[in-house]
């Protein structure tokens, strides 16, 4: 509850003691989740940048004498149907999956911000055309749309990146469009007009920086989703081709052995899940902090 009363400094808010206690519990719980997510993402970063530090072996080295070995001391994620070490493949696969997700998000953010800004600054007809196109784009299920795109361009890492970027772009564009319209009618932009700023400077100095406020947070949450879509498409054979150790591709390869060797599928699957959850936790926390600051 926020009460503003005469006689109390601006910004002072009041909460009852029970509310305060509940909030403290929430914060504690959140902090544990946050630490876990942070720790996982740190390990993930090491796996991306320097996989040999975590798994010195060769992800492609097959050992025909040791196929489908259950997790034990020497292969603690077990081995797959060709006797390759699953741990090594999961670690080296992180590079593939994360690179694709980061590149795809970069495509989505760049394209989304540009289109959103353009739509927000345009007059009605151009804005309507752009916005409706983006609406139509986001009306399709993301996975379906990405598959459609890859069906045209053919599978591969680059088309995967562009496909994911394209299907996650509308949400960034929409946020930026809305904020652009808000910001360009704001008092400070009007004031800047009276200072005689040229239009490009007005856009670059005032409108753009104020319209992209929530984008970093949105991008972090979107990163998790990109990992998920990438894994999904790779699972369907539309991403990096075997034998490269991509998480989705590993899931696909291991699915025939699920009843005798669960570790080939479950463990890479857990890596995907943990990545998505950690990125979302981080993004949400960041968002909450920003909201708290602005309130």
């Amino acid at each position: 509850m926020t009460v503003t009363l005469d006689g109390v400094p601006a910004g002072a808010t009041f909460t009852s003691t029970t509310e305060r206690a509940a909030a403290a519990t929430r914060r504690r719980r959140l902090r544990i989740g946050l630490i876990a997510a942070g720790a996982y993402l740190t390990v993930l970063l090491v796996a991306v940048l320097w996989p040999a530090a975590l798994a010195p072996g060769d992800p492609l080295a097959a050992d025909p004498l040791n196929v489908l070995a259950a997790p034990d001391g020497s292969h603690w994620f077990g081995t797959d149907n060709l006797g390759r070490d699953v741990w090594t493949r999961v670690v080296h696969g992180a590079g593939h999956s994360i690179t694709i997700a980061v590149a795809a998000t970069a495509v989505a953010v760049t394209g989304g911000v540009l289109l959103g800004l353009l739509a927000g600054l345009s007059h009605r007809i151009a804005d309507e055309t752009l916005s409706r196109t983006l609406d139509a784009l986001s009306a399709f299920p993301t996975l379906l749309l990405a598959m459609l795109f890859i069906a045209i361009t053919g599978p591969g890492t680059v088309s995967l990146i562009i496909a994911i970027g394209l299907v996650t772009l509308p949400r960034h564009a929409r946020v930026v469009r809305g904020l652009t319209q808000l910001v360009r009618r704001s008092g400070y932009v009007e004031q800047a007009v009276t200072f005689g700023l040229s239009r490009p400077r007005l856009v670059l100095r005032h409108i753009l920086p104020n319209a992209i406020g929530p984008i970093p947070v949105l991008a972090v949450i979107g990163l998790g989703e990109a990992v998920l879509i990438a894994a999904g498409l790779s699972f369907l054979g539309m991403g990096p081709q075997p034998p490269s150790p991509e998480w989705g591709a590993m899931l696909s390869e291991g699915r025939n052995y699920l009843h005798i060797a669960w570790w080939i599928t479950i463990l890479p699957g857990l890596a995907v899940t943990a990545t998505v959850v950690s990125l979302t936790v981080l993004g949400r926390h960041w968002q909450a902090r920003l909201d708290g600051r602005h309130r």
Binding site: L5, D6, G7, A12, T13, F14, T15, E190, T194
Partner: protein
């Protein structure tokens, strides 16, 4: 006994994350039956907290301590929420500043009033509709039956405030607590609401009026308490307090009120000795016009918001533009600022066409015309600190190394210290923010500054400082001002000539003295008649 309100040594403190904040620090207050008592103070004085404490709405984290706290003879110190519900509406009705906030937007006005009747079981269910009509009639709402079926947004500000008062009166309380009941209203509507409150009082109602405006209070209060920092600094019968204030703060408040009699004198003691002469006005050269507007008309659909408005502003001249809300004065300001194209008419600034030209053509002259708005915070880029905000308007030719010095000098000119440079405008007070906006405006040494309600959101003593500052800067730089305000006193204090607008048209214009002394148009007369005047003659 017989006092409706009896308070002794009331303290109210709030627990905040940064520690305890004392809002009220030991005040005594009594309201006798049929009496009208007013509490006057600036924001932060504790006047609203006091009022809310009397109806149990001080807030959940408020700690209330009092030697005596009685309403209609009942000790309310140990009241629990359910006890307070019996008090509110029945013993004391509460009217707040903004009826649009206080009335439920999803319910009709009639339902709102009927709820009070039902809660306190005032009349039988079958008689409620009739009583609602009677109450609306009591507060002079025309066509009460039809209005009762309308929602708050369908009513004008004045009618809404009347409806709110009707709902406060529905429980037949003996006391009405009104917290800034007219602050959001136009001056003519304010006069009507004050007349209504006076009428109810004559019918036997007791009133506790909370206001920042001494002039409003002077109209109807028997006694006035002046509050500052949670304490009552002075109290007494209204007339005595206004004629012969004893406490320096009361005197300071009275001095700060701009009016015809304050013309040419300082309003605030902080900018120089109070009530001493301001520096001479810049020499007005009417022949040398800075800005000429002719036949300005602006329509939105069928609605004409500005109709055939024309005026000139001479070099160094201050033109006051007065009118009530909806009169079109802000639209005129936007047209003159080159932010809105008129449908008809032209503006010439510095003898150069200013309307119907491309923004590119206007740009070189933009630095000569600056704008100060009512909401300075909204006019600053939310990411920037004070230094960047002001530096943006510096001459681009000034070298990087000198820019900070220039900003500091500008801050100094508006009476601010250099330690504000790195501060964020959000962390400044309202007065400081407006000074920063003024510093930014004078950075270009403009020939004309458009001030759109620059002091409306400020406390009277802060308003006094800002008005003095504007007068000083005008004298030093010879800047012309287009000063837009709903407050006739402010315009009378500052302007050379005045333009009165009503319903989008200019009804009267001329030198301030002539227009305000011998108004020719009925509308100007009604504005002046509605203006609550402070009777302060006889003071040194």
């Amino acid at each position: 006994m017989g006092d409706l309100v009896s308070v002794e040594d009331l303290h109210v403190t709030f627990d905040t994350p940064t520690g305890e904040v004392a809002a009220v620090r030991g005040i005594d207050l009594t309201v006798a039956a049929g009496e009208c008592v007013a509490i006057v103070g600036e924001s932060g004085s504790g006047k609203s907290v006091t009022a809310r404490t009397l109806v149990g709405l001080a807030g959940r984290d408020a700690r209330i301590r009092a030697a005596r706290l009685e309403l209609a003879g009942t000790d309310v110190r140990a009241h629990r929420p359910r006890d307070w519900r019996q008090v509110r509406g029945r013993v004391a009705g509460l009217v707040l500043q903004d009826a649009l906030v206080s009335l439920d937007p999803l319910r009709t006005v009639g339902a709102e009033i009927a709820e009070v009747l039902a809660t306190h079981e005032i009349v039988r269910r079958s008689e409620r509709a009739g009583r609602v009509g009677h109450l609306l009639d009591l507060v002079h709402v025309p066509e009460p039956q039809r209005r009762a079926r309308q929602h708050p947004h369908q009513l004008s500000g004045g009618l809404r405030q009347r409806a709110l008062i009707a709902s406060a009166l529905a429980g037949e309380p003996a006391l009405l607590i009104a917290d800034e009941p007219t602050t959001a209203l136009d001056v003519t509507v304010q006069a009507q609401i004050l007349a209504l409150l006076a009428e109810r009082r004559a019918a036997g109602l007791s009133l506790l009026l909370i206001s920042h405006d001494l002039a409003v209070v002077a109209q109807i209060a028997d006694r006035v308490l002046v509050m500052r920092d949670g304490r009552v600094v002075e109290q007494g019968p209204t007339e005595r307090l206004l004629r012969a204030p004893e406490h320096p703060y009361t005197r300071q408040l009275l001095d700060a009120v701009p009016s015809a009699s304050s013309r040419g004198r300082r309003l605030s003691a902080t900018t120089g000795p109070a009530r001493t002469a301001l520096p001479a006005r810049p020499e007005v050269r009417r022949g040398d016009t800075v800005l000429t507007a002719t036949g300005l008309t602006k329509r939105y659909g069928d609605h004409t918001v500005v109709r055939d408005v024309g005026f000139t502003i001479g070099r160094g001249e201050t033109l006051g533009l007065v009118g009530e809300s909806g009169s079109g004065k802000s639209t005129v300001a936007r047209i003159v600022a080159g932010l809105l194209e008129p449908d008809e008419g032209t503006v010439a600034f510095e003898r150069t066409p200013w309307t119907s030209v491309a923004e590119r053509t206007r740009r070189p002259l933009r630095r000569q015309l600056q704008v100060i708005s009512q909401d300075p915070l909204g006019s600053f880029d939310p990411r920037w600190n004070v230094q960047r905000v002001i530096a943006e308007n510096l001459d681009p030719d000034i070298s990087r190394a000198d820019r900070t010095d220039h900003v500091v000098e500008l801050l100094h000119r508006v009476g601010l210290d250099r330690n504000l440079l790195g501060r964020h405008p959000r962390a400044l007070s309202g007065g400081q923010r407006q000074r920063v906006a003024i510093a930014r405006a004078i950075a270009t040494r403009p020939s004309l500054i458009i001030c759109d309600e620059p002091v409306s959101a400020l406390d009277v003593s802060v308003q006094a400082q800002v008005l003095d500052l504007l007068a000083d800067l005008r004298a030093a730089d010879g800047t012309a001002l287009l000063f837009i305000s709903h407050d006739l006193g402010v315009v009378h204090h500052l302007a050379d000539r005045v333009l009165v607008m009503a319903d989008g048209a200019v009804v009267e214009q001329g030198p301030v003295g002539d227009v305000f002394t011998y108004p020719r148009h009925d509308y100007t007369r009604s504005l002046l008649a509605a203006l609550p005047a402070l009777v302060t003659t006889g003071r040194p």
